[in-house]
Amino acid sequence: MSRYILRVENLTMDFGGVRAIDNLTFKVPKGSTYGLIGPNGAGKTTVFNIITGNLKPTKGKVYLEDEDITGIKPNKAVYKGIARTFQNIRLFKSMSVLDNILIGFDRAAKYTYFEAIFRLPRFFKYEKEIRQKAYELMEIFGIREFAKYNATALSYGNQRKVEIARALATNPKLLLLDEPAAGMNPKETDELADIIFKIKKDFNLSILLIEHDMKFVNKMCDLVTVLDYGEKIFEGKPSEAIRDPKVIAAYLGDFTHA
């Protein structure tokens, strides 16, 4: 068994003539929280999309534990144990908070189409089971009281929580969070950090996250990789990243040539 939950090796991604990711390699140790940071357009979300199978890389491999999952179908990636949230929250707008989270439990409810139509006992058994689990999840995130509300009626911070809860419902080993703290106030950010710590322990997760809020990254991440124009410019502890001259140059612009 590998020490690493996720290995990305020599990843290159071209969009036409634009090289979005250039020969990127990094490893996410099991049980760690790993940060992927960098200025806008650095290719962070592209890396996410490759890991979840939404994009097929031009070159390079992605390994989950020791299995090659490069170019896997996005829904199969979920079966393998990768769950994600989106940069711009993408909840199911017409559905309640409860139903949104139940979507994550789709695979856990093992009844067939005919069992649903004829309302056979297995239907009730599994529906009861996943509802109970969904309520437990909502309890952890403190959104239980909103169960019957329409998902879009919630505040931004709570919608984020619903999205993470929905991802957790798929029973992942690796959770990909795309800017989880974006648009949140400091209080909500702290609250979210606490929840992420808790679920990481409770669900035995490894987490890969994209984030701009360096305070949040510093608090959450064990290791970070900094990307700029698709290239890795730094790998190591977050506290060192913010002192690295290359990283500062990438974020603030390179003053030596100005």
Binding site: T52, N54, P74, N75, V78, Y79, A83, R84, F86, R90, L91, F92, K93, S94, M95, D99, L102, I103, G104, F105, D106, R107, A109, Y111, Y113, A116, I117, F118, R119, F123, E127, I130, R166, A167, T170
Partner: protein, 343 residues
């Protein structure tokens, strides 16, 4: 408590369906039957168009498949020999025969099978493209019906179809359709279909096999449209290819949009309004006396009024009568509002 109410409602409805024959005259019964058949078609159309949000325009094709197969299974061989005027019927057409219920089921299964085959090309495209591809399918079925007279008797259509489909049959099958649709909508499959409607990429990212879900919705929809087509054939006792033109799809589309895309109970109410409304407004075509002035007969006036009513309804209820909610949810919401306002 709720279960008891639903049980009582179901029993009351079944009693109504079984004793309707003795309570109403033939004209009323035919209107009721028409509403019942359109309810079956609209409910199943709503599953793919409303719940799953796949804007498709093919139900006339599936209804035609169900209608022709059921009709050919019901008509006795001698009658077929007399009826086929353009060419002799194909041997298989002469051989095929079944009782009413099996004939309906075979019609439905055939439509569902065609839907399965169709789902491979159509669900590769999304949105407007899906509408165009499925629209094409509806046209193809009609043209096939016209141009294969050894199977369908061409443009002359089939007549003398044994009339088994009375209101008892139609009403019972409409109930079965309604319950089946609700059972699908309130299960993980229905949730998945709604998720596809809201955001297909997010649904895939949650591990849903969206192609499978769309195909399930499409096949279920086709099955009941096929059964509805069989009922229509036996109810009208005569069918021609022109009955299954795009206008049929269009009529169903009006019903489900008026009822609210995704709402099964809304579709039922809309079916009664649209199909019943066409009949109840019939007096407008006739000569009327308003303040002592004879208006004269204006055939077609009811369609004018009907269209204006439809426009008004859509203006005041943009998302259809019930939105995407079911009746009990709406009652619940009204109760909440009433509580708040009375406080």
């Amino acid at each position: 408590m709720k279960k008891v109410i639903y049980l009582i409602l179901t029993l009351a409805y079944l009693a109504f369906v079984y004793y309707a024959k003795d309570m109403f005259d033939a004209y009323t019964l035919s209107i009721l039957s028409n509403i019942g058949i359109f309810a079956i078609l609209a409910l199943s159309y709503n599953l793919i168009n409303g719940t799953t949000g796949q804007f498709s325009l093919e139900p006339n094709g599936f209804v035609a498949i169900g209608a022709y197969i059921t009709a050919l299974l019901l008509i006795p061989a001698e009658t077929k020999l007399d009826m086929f005027a353009l060419t002799d019927p194909a041997p298989i057409v002469l051989k095929m025969h079944a009782d009413f219920l099996p004939a309906l089921l075979i019609g439905g299964v055939a439509a569902a099978f065609v839907a399965l085959l169709l789902s491979f090309p159509v669900f590769r495209v999304r949105g407007d493209y899906l509408a165009i591809v499925t629209l094409g399918f509806g046209f193809i079925i009609r043209i096939l019906a016209i141009n294969n007279p050894e199977y369908t008797n061409g443009a002359m259509g089939l007549n003398d179809i044994p009339s088994y489909a009375d209101f008892t049959w139609i009403g019972t099958i409409a109930l079965i359709t309604f319950v089946t649709m609700l059972h699908i909508v309130y299960s993980k499959f229905g949730r998945g279909m709604k998720a596809i409607r809201d955001d297909e990429d997010a649904a895939i990212a949650m591990g849903l096999n969206t192609f499978k879900l769309k195909t399930f919705a499409f096949m279920t929809s086709a099955f009941f449209e096929g059964v509805g087509g069989g009922l229509l054939a036996s109810f009208l006792t005569t069918i021609t290819p022109d009955q299954f033109s795009f206008l049929l799809t269009f009529q169903l589309l009006i019903i489900i949009v008026l009822g609210g895309l995704g709402s099964m109970s809304g579709t039922l109410v809309a079916t009664i309004l649209v199909m019943g409304g066409m009949e109840w407004l019939r007096f407008l075509d006739e000569d009327m006396v308003i303040f002592g002035i004879h208006t004269g007969a204006h055939p077609g006036m009811r369609m004018v009024v009907f269209s204006i009513l439809l426009i008004l309804m859509m203006l005041f209820a943009r998302r259809g009568l019930f939105g995407d909610k079911e009746l009990p949810e709406i009652i619940e919401e009204l109760k909440e509002k009433f509580k708040k306002s009375s406080k």
